[in-house]
Amino acid sequence: MPVAELSSLSEAVAELIRDGNTVALEGFTHLIPVAAGHEIIRQGRRDLTLVRMTPDIVYDQLIGAGCASLLVFSWGGNPGVGSLHRFRDAVENDWPVPLRIEEHSHAGMANRYAAGASGLPFAVLRGYTGTDLVRQTATVGQVTCPFTGEVLTALPALNPDVTVIHAQRADRKGNVQLWGITGVQKEAVLAARASIVTVEEVVDRLDPRPDAIVLPWWVVTAVAVVPRGAHPSYALGYYDRDNAYYREWDTISRDRATFEAWLRTAVLEPVREAG
């Protein structure tokens, strides 16, 4: 029986993510694939183009660990708390490595993923007009409507090498189900060449749920069971957002030495047991 590969997170990351890849770890506050981000750090990936609408603390961690050379994003912050200090240190001071940025708006990023998922070369929308994003971001263009002559904003499709998401559950065949705020995850998976999905649990049967998205097994490359893999974000129906962790991150990340100590004890030294 063909199935999405049920594998360990470390095997999936080792097999699918290479240095220099374009990688999107998506999640809009909910279901953020934090454990997968930590695995990418542990495996020492370098020179990644990291893509995310809302890079938050797991992207701060990846950037601080030196995994990224380019960030494609639309809002970079610690939601509810403030700045991302590792992100700022990389942009403002090139620490630990220079980080280039490609900055968009949410509407732009969402449409770029949708174009990527649709097999189109670009997205079209009403947006960016009159803003300084047009001057600073090379990937903002214009297109003229062939029917009305109206000039609209055009943005290149996003097609990550690998998209990583976290979902509530999968069945044994690798069909993936997620619900609640599902953000841009469906588009990000369908836009990518390969995908890794971490899940809270594997069940025999995915009973239908209102508003749930199902990603069929044949569009998912690898599924790994990682309970609490979205912590400190939340998984609706499983656990709540750990708001204290987001606040503590502000202190940990302000200082390079504190961050490096955290990186050693919280990410590099522990070997995740969820094989």
């Binding site: 009403r126 009159g130 599902t182």
Partner: protein
């Protein structure tokens, strides 16, 4: 100005939030940013406007959160919403066509023509003095909502002659600019601060002081504004918060404060 009670029982932040909440009277749907706008929108829903439709960019339409959400993607927003849609859908089907009456935005900098900066302050874009979170949903909220209300604390570093980066367009360079750009919403119609209310002049589009909050002198607002602030010839004084408004607002923020520091709150 004489006041019967020289020491009001409310703070300037509370006055700002109450004024912003009142501005939502008569609207159907509000696209809400996190932080001060979200507090004001939730206050409106709990006082004068129980039917106000709150739309968060995480894709929740008609959310009725029991407590103030810490981020725009809180689980209770999804659990209490009339509908939960994807992020591409919320921007494309709901915001872009001009379906939403009012967009509610914050700002790190705002200028004479109500252009908003939430991207970088000082220096070069590639090497800024301060790197801020960036655009999020704001550019298209500012472009496509039928009108925009900005809620921001007053200060000379915030109210600047010219923003360092135009993240979201207000009136651009002045009269006619929005039209030339093809922006379909009216743009910012109210800027509500902790000192008063500014509105664009109908002819010049320049933000003009139209109301001061009780106890605030015009000179104080001028001093907190980084350009030569125009004052409407017959400016008004905002009505002080009622006991009911204060009670409900304090209930909202008390439940939140167990979980967050309101002064630091911002979101994507």
């Amino acid at each position: 100005m004489t006041r019967t009670d020289p020491r009001p029982n409310w703070s300037s932040d509370e006055m700002m939030t109450v004024a912003a909440s009142r501005a939502l009277a008569g609207r159907t749907a509000c696209f809400v940013g996190i932080g001060l706008p979200s507090t004001a929108a939730n206050l409106a829903r709990r006082t004068h406007h129980p039917d106000l439709v709150l739309i968060y960019e995480s894709g929740t339409i008609g959310a009725r959160p029991a407590t103030l959400p810490l981020s725009i993607g809180d689980g209770q927003l999804a659990q209490t919403a009339d509908a939960v849609v994807s992020v591409p859908e919320i921007f494309n089907y709901w915001l872009q066509p001009g379906r939403v009456d009012v967009g509610f935005l914050g700002a790190a900098q705002i200028d004479r023509y109500a252009n908003i900066n939430t991207t970088v302050i000082g220096g070069d874009y590639r090497r800024p003095k301060v790197r801020l979170p960036g655009a999020g949903g704001a550019p298209e909220i500012a472009a496509s909502c039928r009108e925009v209300i900005v809620v921001v604390r007053h200060g000379p570093r915030t109210f600047v002659e010219r923003v360092d980066f135009v993240t979201s367009v207000g009136y651009g360079d002045g009269p006619g600019h929005r039209e030339r750009l093809g922006l379909r919403g009216r743009g910012p119609t109210l800027v509500i601060t902790d000192l008063g209310v500014l509105e664009p002049d109908p002819k010049t589009c320049e933000l003009t002081l139209t109301h001061v909050h009780p106890g605030v002198e015009v000179d104080k607002v001028r001093a907190a504004t980084g350009w030569d602030l125009a004052v409407a010839p017959e400016f008004g004084v905002t009505e002080a918060p009622t006991d009911e408004e204060l009670t409900v607002l304090r209930q909202l923020t008390a439940r939140e404060s167990a979980d967050a520091r309101p002064s630091d709150r911002e979101g994507p």
